[in-house]
């Protein structure tokens, strides 16, 4: 038994995210309220000044993510939270964070769309937007908690990955997880290791903010220290200044991708439940994780050996993990709260066009239930 008497309490998904950000050492939040993410903002407003951090309610989401990028370059761990319409507004400046390799965490609590949609209801239709929402060649990391405790743990993880790889990390949740309440004991300080971005160490006059080291990542200084530096949304050389040379563009675009590809196995996380002897594989993320697990357990009672793969990391997509497990079963099922089957499409890509895939799609603003899934098992 752990020596620390941890205080278990009932905590909401959004609340767990804000608490996770504080645990991770966040010192700046900028945002604009939107359902179903607003509790994160309200908590940030309450908590940031208490830990010496700063909270700014910006004029819109475009400005929110911009301020987050600015604060991060000032040396703070910075985050924002939003949902559908706000996430759309953030895309351009999220691209600046990709291009400028600026660590930051963005929480997108998915709601039912399109457009204003069913503003208070859950959806999972931003999976592709998370990956491809910004113009141009770019890549990011996205994590997808399946429970309230994971909201906390993956927020900390999101900051850690973001700091380590100088890349924005999107925590993709949904209205169900955001407003669910579960028992959770906030870990004690030090229980989960925290990662800080690499700082430059050499002589200031030699510092170039995009000189990647062997791990594919360049150290990042903070404005105001002894290292003077340029960060640019325009195509730039290792020194951060504009550079129109085609060879430079190749180097740059490759580097943005390669630093993620190089560390793919460290970034891609999955959970499996009852997969050892399964005949049917359920592939889930976010709110469908709980429903899938319940459906799988019920199926087993009826003699169908079902197992669940929870895609904890949704981008980069856990292709090898999906392929390995899908190769062992007779049937693959992907339940998700969207019409088009955004996750199913990725799974299909991995298992090939000739392997049959069973889709469960719900897009009426209501959660996928275990019964919805059981129907196809």
């Amino acid at each position: 038994m752990s020596k620390v008497e941890r205080k278990v309490r009932l905590i909401q998904g959004n609340e767990a995210i804000a608490a996770g950000a504080v645990y991770a050492g966040a010192g700046f939040y900028a945002g604009y309220p939107i359902t179903p993410s607003s509790e994160i903002m309200n908590d940030a407003a309450r908590l940031m000044p208490r830990v010496g951090g700063i909270f700014v309610q910006m004029e819109d989401e475009i400005g929110s993510i911009a301020a987050v990028v600015g604060a991060s370059l000032g040396g703070a761990k910075a985050f924002t939270a939003t949902s559908g319409p706000g996430f759309s507004l953030m895309q351009e400046n999220l691209g600046v964070a990709v291009m400028g390799e600026v660590p930051c965490v963005l929480i997108n609590v998915q709601r039912s769309g399109p457009s204003t949609g069913l503003a208070t209801k859950p959806g999972q239709a931003d999976i592709m937007q998370v990956r491809w929402g910004r113009h141009g060649d770019q890549t990011i990391i996205a994590l997808c908690p399946g429970s309230v405790p994971e909201c906390f743990l993956l927020t900390v993880k999101a900051f850690n990955l973001s700091e380590k790889f100088r890349v924005p990390v999107v925590l993709v949740t949904d209205e169900v997880i955001a407003h669910a309440r579960q028992n959770f004991a906030i870990p004690e300080p030090g229980e989960i290791p925290l990662v800080e971005r690499k700082s430059p160490a050499g002589p200031p006059e030699k510092y170039r903010p995009f000189d990647a080291e062997e791990d594919g990542v360049a150290p990042l200084a903070a404005y105001g220290g002894e290292y003077v530096f340029h960060i640019s949304s325009s195509m730039h050389g290792p020194d951060g200044y504009s550079n129109n040379n085609p060879d430079n563009a190749i180097w740059r675009i490759k580097q943005l991708h390669e630093k993620i590809e190089m560390h793919r196995d460290e970034i891609v996380m999955t959970n499996t439940y009852d997969t050892d002897d399964m005949d049917v594989l359920l592939v889930a993320c976010g709110a469908t994780t709980g429903a899938s697990r319940a459906a799988a357990l019920e199926a087993r009672r009826n003699g169908i050996r079902a197992g669940v793969l929870h895609l904890v990391t949704i981008w980069p997509f856990p292709d090898r993990e999906v392929k390995e497990l899908a190769g062992r079963v007779k049937k693959v099922v992907v339940p998700e709260m969207n019409y088009a089957g955004q996750v199913a499409g990725e799974v299909q890509k991995v298992i090939g066009p000739d392997t049959e895939l069973t889709r469960v799609n719900k897009y009426n603003g209501q959660i996928i239930t275990p019964r919805d899934i059981l129907e196809v098992l």
């Binding site: 475009i62 600015g70 604060a71 703070a76 003077v228």
Partner: protein, 272 residues
């Protein structure tokens, strides 16, 4: 006394610059860099945040800290930097399209929030970089590549906008008033809270050519003639006031800036 040139903030080997001959941006930048030097700013205590446009290209010539952002959003990025690094001098360099057209929302809110950032706006009455389209500052009736028959909309008064929105310091000047421009920029830089210097500036390639304002030199003469201090402006007839600009310091207050007020919030929050 040796004249300050501001050269120490200029990147070596990048001149000649990309701006057209007769463009005002370089003149404005020169005044900013001389101001830095006269105020004794170290390169690492300044962050120049730029938007997108001909004006937004300025960071490429600088060896201070810089952040080149997106069209219209420079002030929002600057807000984040300032919030966490109160000790730094943050300058947002923007065109008129950048600052008050696409970026108008950030502009008024940065002023209202009274974030301690100095906004320097190069107002050349049109979108220079994209080929002289109308901006929120193109006066009614004037020509641009998107108002070929005259602008059906009226223009923003950038300075009045900042002043109304709550800026602590607002001044308008022109690149034809070199010495005054520099004094005003210095004042803005040292003023705590949101400060704006609107710099009227020629874009001979687009706005000047379309509106038949003559050679670059004629545009400078136009600026000298039509931009006058407030007392001289008051004496103008109604017809002359039309198309003239008041220059000089236009508004000054001493409200506590965002960081000062937020420090009080932190204190309160920590005590509950």
């Amino acid at each position: 006394m040796l004249q300050k040139t501001g050269e120490k903030y200029l990147k070596e080997g990048v001149l000649p610059h990309m701006w057209c001959s007769g463009c005002g941006i370089g003149v404005m930048l020169g005044a900013l860099l001389r101001s830095f030097e006269e105020l004794g700013y170290a390169k690492n205590e300044v962050v120049v945040v730029t938007g997108i446009g001909c004006t937004g290209k300025a960071d490429d010539y600088l060896v201070t800290n810089a952040l080149h952002t997106t069209h219209g959003r420079a002030l929002a990025f600057a807000t984040g930097i300032k919030a966490v690094r109160p000790e730094l001098k943050i300058v947002a360099l923007m065109g008129d399209g950048d600052s008050v057209t696409i970026g108008g929302n950030h502009f008024i809110h940065a002023a209202r929030r009274n974030i301690d950032v100095t906004a320097i706006v190069n107002n050349n009455f049109n979108y220079g970089m994209t080929g002289g389209q109308a901006s929120g500052t193109t006066p009614g009736g004037k020509l641009s590549s998107t108002t070929l028959y005259g602008n059906p909309e009226d223009d923003f008064d950038i300075s009045a906008l900042a002043c109304t929105a709550g800026a602590n310091y607002v001044a308008r000047t022109t690149i034809a008033h070199g010495w005054e421009m520099q004094q005003l920029i210095k004042e803005a830089l040292t003023k705590k809270g949101f400060s704006l210097v609107e710099v009227l500036s020629p874009c001979p390639t687009n706005y000047g050519k379309r509106n038949k304002m003559g050679e670059p030199l004629d545009m400078l003469r136009w600026l000298r003639k039509n931009c006058v201090p407030s007392d001289a402006y008051a004496k103008l007839g109604e017809a002359e006031k039309e198309g003239s600009f008041i220059i000089g310091k236009l508004c000054e207050r001493d409200k506590p800036d965002f960081n000062t007020r937020y420090a009080e919030i932190q204190e309160k929050a920590m005590s509950v």
